[in-house]
């Protein structure tokens, strides 16, 4: 199982003020706050931890079928600049993040599974409708090419938990899919 999350750092800067009173306390544990304040780039560390939590949360919802809003319940730790793990109760997820000064893309997996196909693209237009269309088109093309089927026969539908699934000729496919978009970035991961 996989989950992914992309953060457009410039968009995050515009939309969210994590220095707002009580923001950090709601989202990050004491250990995570220590990681943030001891890092060279606090803004980047805040959103790196955030994307790890989001990516792991997406697997948790898939695995246990329960939605909730409590980012602090998922605690992150870094293993290297790009690798980390996220713990929620007795469940551990592994994460791999790619980032530069403009974006962060994290892929979480349950068992550190190999063979994840992923992509993170920059797009010019940042309207949410277009983002959603473009990321679906991109992911459908990648999937049908890999499965060697015509991309008209494959569709993506979200279930009641908001999790996207591939359907081919109306039959749900076994591959797990995670889609994320934010600001000027669209990303997906397939396993």
């Amino acid at each position: 199982m996989i989950g992914n999350d992309v953060v457009d750092l410039n968009q995050a800067h515009k939309d969210s003020n994590w220095m707002r009173p009580r923001f950090l306390e709601k989202v990050f544990t004491q250990n995570e706050q220590a990681l943030i304040f001891s890092s060279k780039n606090e803004h980047q560390t805040v959103w790196l931890l955030w994307s790890m939590k989001e990516a792991a949360y997406k697997i948790y919802v898939r695995q246990f079928g329960e939605r909730f809003f409590n980012p602090k319940r998922l605690e992150c730790a870094f293993e290297s600049k790009t690798k980390g793990r996220v713990v929620i109760e007795d469940v551990v997820y592994k994460t791999t993040s790619q980032y530069d000064k403009n974006y962060i893309h994290t892929i979480a997996s349950r068992l550190g599974e190999k063979g994840v196909k992923s992509s993170c693209l920059k797009i010019e237009n940042s309207s949410i409708k277009l983002q959603s269309q473009l990321s679906r088109k991109d992911v459908l093309e990648a999937y049908s090419k890999n499965q060697n089927v015509h991309n008209n026969s494959v569709t993506i539908k979200k279930d009641t938990l908001g999790i996207p699934h591939f359907f081919q000729n109306n039959k749900k496919q076994k591959e797990t899919l995670s889609i994320s978009h934010h600001g000027h970035y669209c990303a997906y991961a397939i396993l």
Partner: protein
């Protein structure tokens, strides 16, 4: 505060963060903050903090956890106001 007044207040609070105008226009108790209004999850933290400020209450993470819909938010606010 009546149910309608509470919904109206919540509607004003979420307005700056919504990304789906149609869902916002049709906002009801059953509206989901993320799936319907397409509020970015980081901005959901702002919604919670704005709710705290507006009603002068504090929402612990255990309560925040349920606040993914208008109905859940209304329940928590009512509970906190009653306990004041």
């Amino acid at each position: 505060m009546t149910k309608e007044e509470l919904i109206a207040k919540l509607k004003t609070i979420v307005k700056p963060y919504i990304q789906d105008e149609d869902a916002f226009e049709n906002l009801s108790e059953h509206t989901d903050f993320i799936n319907d209004l397409k509020i970015n999850s980081a901005n959901l933290v702002d919604v919670i903090l704005d709710v705290e400020d507006e009603f002068d209450i504090r929402i612990e993470n255990d309560d925040m956890e349920k606040m993914i819909s208008v109905k859940a938010a209304m329940d928590i606010v009512n509970e906190k106001l009653a306990a004041k």
